[in-house]
């Protein structure tokens, strides 16, 4: 296996359907005021979150474990498609947002160079939103991800339009 290819086992995909419109889920994901309410595992709180939400902008969030240990993460936004998709990177940081080795936090991490996180927001059309988070994607597939879903939606619309045209005859 080539050394710079991402091992499939390193990929992580998490999907969740939220019982809320897409704009609302987007807001909860991109507004630090709300991010601070959900950032971090169970039992963790987030005492600080700052987001310069634009392509090339950076974010910096802190989470505090139940026993008071603070973990800082920072990252950058690489692609933003309003209400649809975000490509970003994330790393462990110090409180100033400078990258640190995860070992400093006691986390063993085999670095994956050029890995990005992709978040896809899909409107399920019934007031529900499907959120897909793909971790550690290489940039090329990060750019292409979401396009299959996009195409399916376009095809559905085309099918609907064709159906409407057919019955209007």
């Amino acid at each position: 296996m080539e050394k710079n290819t991402v091992d499939e086992t390193e990929r992580m995909v998490i999907t969740r359907v939220f019982d809320a419109p897409r704009e609302l889920v987007w807001k909860a994901w991109t507004d630090p005021q709300y991010v601070m309410q959900w950032w971090g595992p169970k039992g963790f709180t987030s005492p600080f979150c700052e987001m310069d939400f634009r392509v090339g902008g950076k974010f910096r969030c802190c989470m505090r474990s139940p026993d008071g240990q603070e973990f800082w993460n920072a990252g950058e936004y690489h692609e933003i498609v309003l209400h649809e998709k975000i490509v970003s990177s994330m790393y462990f940081a110090d409180p100033q947002g400078n990258k640190v080795e995860p070992e400093q936090y006691g986390i063993e991490h085999e670095a994956i160079d050029g890995a990005y996180d992709v978040t896809i927001f899909e409107d399920l059309g019934n007031g529900q939103t499907k959120l897909t988070f793909i971790g550690n994607e290489p940039m090329e597939s990060a750019i292409n991800s979401g396009q299959i879903e996009g195409w399916n939606q376009i095809l559905d619309k085309v099918a609907e339009l064709i159906g409407g045209l057919a019955s209007a005859k």
Partner: protein, 97 residues
């Protein structure tokens, strides 16, 4: 429990509080981890202190597991936030604040 100990050593008493389980249950679990050579128990005064073996830390707190847990559990919390936001929006008649 391993996750808790990955943050640092803890007394059996401390673990009992963290998990809301009886001291007997915790001791039983700790005994298993000691047998599995994941945890070492030492005496500090009257307290028994549990520490992860360094070799075990390497394998249990690996990035992939941490990363998945981070996002899975953040999503759980996001669900609560989104539902709260939805209620607020309905209550405020879609007014933006």
């Amino acid at each position: 429990m391993i996750e808790r100990l990955s943050h640092g050593p803890a007394s059996v008493h401390g673990l009992t509080e963290a998990f809301a389980l009886s001291q007997q249950m915790i001791s039983k679990h700790v005994a298993c981890l000691i047998r599995a050579r994941i945890v070492i128990k030492t005496k500090r005064g009257r307290e028994s202190v549990c520490t992860l073996r360094p070799e075990a830390i390497k394998s249990v707190s690996d990035w992939a597991a941490y990363y998945r847990r981070f996002w899975e559990e953040s999503f759980d919390k996001l669900d609560v936030v989104v539902n709260q936001m939805k209620k607020t929006e309905v209550r405020d008649g879609k007014k933006h604040g």
